[in-house]
């Protein structure tokens, strides 16, 4: 297990360095000069050159990259070109907000998706099964953007139960409760697709597990159905369910970006979009690194969890 962890962590570092080089190179291909956008239409060539020099953008690319990566290795993510602020002071709060939103969605996805799949599997081909799977299929096919607008229209505008967007009340920003009220609609919108996927996956695994030989054997031996389900079947569907939940957690980090736009949630996605359109290289680099890091960590945690739950995968690893 320890060897497995060490290998995975080492490969994580390599993946992150690879990602950073790739992003750096891709951004060089994108046309446009961040200094031009900073100084606006009226900027003369002379002033642009002056500011480019001040920001060190006139140095060779390799020097710029090495300078940046050395900073990162020392825990310094650099300064935002457009905001003149440390990247970390802008990005960490945004990353936190994205995690709150993704966390809320993941919770909904677990609490609704897994039981829904299990119930459907227990009553295979019943109305409950067909109904819930139809809804799940619908949910998995809905564009997040559209779902978000529909949800806002019904629950914020028509019913007035929740605010339309944002993270805090505009006039009287509050604390935890304020965030919670604002969190409901966006996390539901972000959870629609993953919940549907998890429900379908949980159903499939459960159906398979219920038809396994040992379950037939237990049932034939007169073991109560309650014990068959909770003790002997649930354990068996956990590895695939954990796997798919892990994948969905990764998906959520990407998916919430659209939800952030629709619900004006001040997360990493919106910030990254702004930074990309402004050509703010240090911000883009750090933002992409964060997402890659979280993705890799979620994957690692999933693999470890699966390995703990299923001894067979541990041996293979």
């Amino acid at each position: 297990m320890v060897g497995f962890l060490v290998r995975r962590l080492l490969s994580t570092v390599l993946v992150l360095i690879g990602v950073s080089i790739l992003v750096f190179l891709i951004m060089q291909l994108v046309p446009g000069d961040p200094v031009r956008s900073m100084l606006g239409q009226a900027a003369t060539a002379e002033r642009v050159t002056e500011v480019r020099h001040q920001l060190g953008l006139d140095r060779p690319l390799i020097v710029q990259y090495l300078d940046w990566i050395l900073g990162v290795l020392h825990g310094d993510l650099g300064q935002s070109l457009t905001l003149s602020q440390p990247v970390s002071s802008i990005l960490f709060p945004k990353l936190g907000n994205t995690m709150i939103l993704a966390g809320g969605s993941l919770l909904i996805c677990l609490v609704i998706g897994v039981p829904l799949g299990m119930v459907a599997a227990r009553r295979q081909y019943s109305v409950v099964d067909r109904g819930s799977m139809f809804v799940a299929l619908g949910g998995a096919s809905v564009p997040v953007y559209w779902a978000g607008l529909v949800i806002i229209n019904i629950f914020a505008l028509k019913l007035g139960w929740f605010p339309t967007s944002g993270m805090y009340d505009t006039r009287n920003p509050g604390g935890f409760e304020d965030v919670l009220v604002h969190l409901v609609l966006p996390s539901v919108a972000a959870a629609v697709v993953p919940t549907a996927v998890v429900a379908r996956m949980a159903r499939g695994s459960m159906v398979e597990a219920l038809h396994a030989d040992h379950v037939q054997m237990l049932r034939a031996s007169g073991v109560p159905e309650r014990l068959v389900i909770w003790k002997h079947t649930l354990r068996n569907i956990l590895p695939p369910v954990v796997n798919i939940v892990g994948l969905q957690a990764g998906y959520l980090l990407g998916g919430v970006i659209f939800v952030e736009v629709v619900f004006n949630w001040p997360g990493l996605g919106g910030q990254l979009y702004t930074s990309i359109t402004a050509g703010d290289m240090p911000m883009i680099q750090a933002g992409v690194l964060f997402i890659a890091l979280v993705f890799v960590v979620v994957n690692l945690v999933t693999d470890v969890a699966v390995a703990l739950l299923d001894p067979r995968t541990r041996k293979e690893a």
């Binding site: 446009g32 100084l39 239409q41 806002i152 001040p266």
Partner: protein, 541 residues
């Protein structure tokens, strides 16, 4: 909530009355001023994008100046208390200077600094503080010189030769030569601004960080900023001028247009900027107020003078005549804009109504094309962005022009780029093969024409992106800039307009009305002839 029959009838009556009021009022330049203004309340404004830094000298974009302006003031300001209908061009008024004199030769400005004004941090305003600010934007040898601020405010300070403070409350600026647009330029924002910041705050936080701790002299002072969520300002109770009614103002960035409308409908904000054109009528029917102005905004095309076809004046004139500006304004943009017939916007003292030169006349356009040797038209490329500050909806607008020109035989291919890349491409100058590049800009000072047409500012050295050059125009504009009286300058600027119009160097297309949608409880909001507004007169019922 269950409503009894009586309550329901009362409520319906109120709703109908409100709807009628809104219908009778129509688009008004200033929002309903019924009732007595009183202090208190928080005004929440849904704005169209995140704000740049809260450092007024560095910050680019109108969105940022609308916020910064509430906290920072220049020496000379514009009177924004009158709607466009009453003041087509906002009058200049004393800002942090109570008065000023210009030497007879037009080169020395003497400003008398407003006494007893304190910055929000309690430090006093004096001539030294103003000098500190100017040196930050202009003097490379100054300890607090800031290249970003200098880059933004380049056109204001370029003619400045020296600064002197003969006494603690007097500031003398000596110019290299007379520069008539100077006072008006002092009042501008959007490409940086000359808003005066507390020198103590710059010393304390440094050039890069002072934008996180903005300290000015304006009617509102900074409370907090949560990026992506809000910027909160509170009334400055020690303000030297008319104190605002509002206790607080919250600017909330809502970049998604439908979110902006939803937030307004859900009463989360009291007013929104840039409503989607399609939503204006239905919002009005729901009892919201519309406030429109005539800011100095021109959505225009710069023809490429390095292109063999575009070099031909007849071709440029034909294109101008073939574009149905009124149709675009009414059908595509639902009257949120006005057709533009002059290179300067109406919010400019040198505006000339040029309806004849640019009126829609496809038949005459065809004749001119035939005369120019293109009876069957030709193909070219139009450059525009897909989004961006003041660009309205550039792609559908470009497609509208594409259809218009196809009718006279000119086939255009659209080359669209997102804003930042576009700005860089645009500033490099229109490349060969491209017929024209589009941009949105404008100022209340006629000097703007110099910025986009002077042969000394041909791209990539300046914003004359089409490479237009007319020695006669250069001479007239030089005379306008060095005129010693405003009237004399305006005459020369009008002459410059006529030259540019006759050359058809630029095709103005529309002027934005910059509509704002306000809830019925917002009173006293004025849409002046500027891209920004004051909030001193606003109160909530």
């Amino acid at each position: 909530m269950v409503l009894s029959g009586k309550r329901l009838r009362q409520l319906s009556a109120v709703v109908i009355a409100l709807a009628l009021l809104a219908a009778c009022g129509g688009p008004s330049a200033s929002s309903g001023a019924s009732g007595t203004p009183h202090s208190g309340g928080t005004l929440a404004i849904g704005i169209e994008s995140e704000v740049d830094v809260l450092d007024p000298q560095r910050a680019g974009g109108w969105v940022s100046w609308r916020v910064n302006r509430q906290m920072f003031e220049p020496l000379v300001d514009e009177d924004l208390s009158k709607p466009s209908a009453q003041a087509a061009v906002p009058a200049l008024r004393p800002g942090l200077a109570t008065s000023w004199e210009l030497s007879p030769d037009g080169t020395v400005y003497t400003f008398h600094i407003r006494p007893n004004v304190k910055f929000h941090d309690g430090t006093p305003l004096d001539a030294a503080a103003v000098e500190f600010n100017i040196r930050r934007m202009w003097d490379k040898s100054f300890q607090y010189y800031d290249a970003k601020a200098a880059g933004q405010t380049n056109f204001v300070w370029q003619p400045l030769k020296s600064i002197a403070t003969p006494d603690p409350m007097t500031l003398q600026l000596t110019m290299k030569q007379p520069f008539e647009p100077f006072l008006r330029l002092l009042s501008q924002g959007g490409n940086g601004s000359t808003g005066i910041m507390s020198p103590a705050s710059i010393k304390q936080y440094g050039n890069d960080n002072v934008g996180e701790h903005p300290v000015g002299t304006g009617p509102f002072k900074f409370v907090d900023r949560v990026r992506g969520q809000r910027i909160t300002l509170a009334r400055n109770d020690d303000y030297w001028g008319t104190k605002p009614y509002l206790d607080k103002v919250v600017f909330r960035p809502l970049p998604d247009p439908s979110s902006r409308v939803a937030s307004l409908r859900a009463n989360e904000v009291d007013m929104i900027a840039v409503p989607p054109p399609d939503s204006v009528a239905s919002l009005q029917q729901s009892g919201f107020q519309v406030s429109e102005g005539a800011p100095p905004h021109v959505w225009f095309l710069s023809f490429n003078f390095n292109d063999p076809i575009m070099k031909n004046k007849l071709v440029r004139q034909a294109i101008n005549l073939a574009i149905d500006r009124q149709g675009m304004a009414t059908n595509l943009l639902k009257d949120t804009v006005k057709p533009a017939y002059d290179v300067q916007a109406p919010a400019n003292a040198a505006y000339v109504a040029n309806t004849e030169a640019y009126g829609y006349n496809p038949d005459k356009a065809k004749q001119l094309l035939a005369q120019a040797g293109y009876p069957n038209g030709f193909s070219t490329v139009m450059m525009t962005s897909v989004d961006g500050s003041g660009q309205i909806i550039p792609v559908p607008m470009a497609e509208y022009i594409q259809q218009n020109l196809a009718k006279v035989g000119i086939q255009i291919q659209l080359q669209t780029t997102e804003w930042i890349s576009y700005l860089s491409k645009w500033a490099q100058g229109t490349p060969p093969g491209v017929g024209w590049a589009q941009q949105s800009w404008g100022m209340t000072t006629p000097y703007w024409l110099y910025i986009v047409t002077s042969s000394s500012l041909k791209a990539p050295n300046g914003p004359n992106v089409g490479g237009y050059s007319n020695p006669q125009l250069d001479q007239v504009m030089q005379q306008a800039m060095t005129a010693t009286t405003e009237a004399g300058a305006v005459e020369k600027w009008k002459e410059a307009n006529r030259i540019v119009t006759d050359d058809a160097a630029i095709a103005p297309i529309v002027n934005d009305k910059a509509p704002y949608i306000l809830s019925s409880k917002v009173h006293g909001f004025v849409s002046p002839s500027e891209e920004w507004y004051d909030l001193n007169t606003v109160w909530l019922s």
